[in-house]
């Protein structure tokens, strides 16, 4: 039963990658590596979403990406994953985020096929959970209209050896506010983490595959 639910979850996430709202262009000129923000530009607990997404393009539902036009991702056969870091999460003394960050790590690694391929030149993949907010069940129940929703954001950055700036950035953010009597915040955050792990690993593998095949 658990396996069936997992397969359905992956299928729904992959279907959602196509998203809605019409087809999107790539936005024209791509910003150079020094012009886009990276995780290490931010201090602990001070991640700025508006600054981070500048220059990024829609990759899939609730997912943005930016890629260095000069990156040679196709030359690499494997990846080394670091993280997920939780140092950029805002301080919230009333919420323990560690189980959800670990949940994202488990789903991310389970979905990432690249690291299982032949060894050779290796890309460094840094991951971080930069937002993990259970919201307010009371607000969801009493206020409605999206108030008090659970929300989480993850970031993936890919580095070629010897480079200080990422060659690829992926940003995924999702929220949920459904459920009876305001819904279960913990279940919603877990669900968001799993869906986003599928989305960002799919985009990551797509981008590297595109670089390999040239399509």
């Amino acid at each position: 039963m658990k396996n069936i639910l997992y397969v359905l979850l992956i299928m729904s996430a992959v279907l959602a990658l196509n998203g809605c709202g019409g087809s999107r262009s790539d936005g024209g000129a791509v910003l150079a590596p020094g012009q886009v923000a990276k995780l290490s530009d931010f201090s602990a607990n001070q991640f700025d979403h508006k600054v981070y997404i500048r220059g990024m393009t829609k990759a899939a539902r609730n997912t943005l990406f930016w890629q260095d036009p000069n990156a040679q991702l196709g030359e690499y056969q494997s990846v080394h994953v670091e993280g997920p870091s939780d140092q950029y999460l805002p301080v919230n003394p009333n919420f323990v985020h560690e189980p959800y960050v670990k949940g994202f790590a488990g789903s991310f690694n389970a979905n990432l096929d690249l690291k299982l391929k032949a060894t050779g030149k290796t890309l460094l993949v840094k991951t971080a959970v930069v937002e993990c907010n259970p919201g307010s069940r009371a607000a969801r129940y009493w206020v409605g209209m999206g108030a008090g929703k659970a929300v989480a954001t993850v970031v993936v950055e890919v580095y070629e050896p010897g480079k200080d700036n990422p060659s690829l950035k992926i940003y995924g953010r999702d929220s949920a506010s459904a459920g009876g009597f305001g819904g279960d915040s913990m279940a919603m955050i877990n669900h968001i983490m799993q869906v986003m792990a599928v989305r960002v690993t799919t985009v990551l593998e797509e981008r590297i595959d595109i670089a390999k095949t040239g399509r």
Binding site: G19, G21, G22, G27, I53, N62
Partner: protein, 87 residues
């Protein structure tokens, strides 16, 4: 009082900022939901991208996502929100 020019400008901004291809901005209805399964079906990162563009273009600050969510309910709601912020 509906600011027709602002509403038309915002429709254009949505299409341009989100790089939606082959879509006439005038096809967006004034009261059509921007998010969710109905209407345009925009998502969370679309909302964030729109916030960035609107803050830059209209010189306002959208501080809180709950405010943003209500303001972004439709193009008409967004126009009313910007007008109130600029007053």
């Amino acid at each position: 009082m509906v600011d027709r020019a602002l509403i038309d400008e915002l429709k254009q901004l949505v299409v341009t900022a989100l790089r939606i291809e082959d879509f006439d901005p005038q096809e967006i209805k004034d009261d059509e939901p921007l998010f969710g399964d109905e209407g345009l079906g925009l998502d969370s990162v679309d909302a964030l991208e729109l916030v960035v563009h609107i803050e830059q273009q209209y010189g306002i600050q959208i501080e809180d996502e709950e405010v943003g969510r209500q303001a972004f309910a439709s193009i008409a709601a967004l126009a009313a929100f910007i007008t109130a912020k600029q007053a």
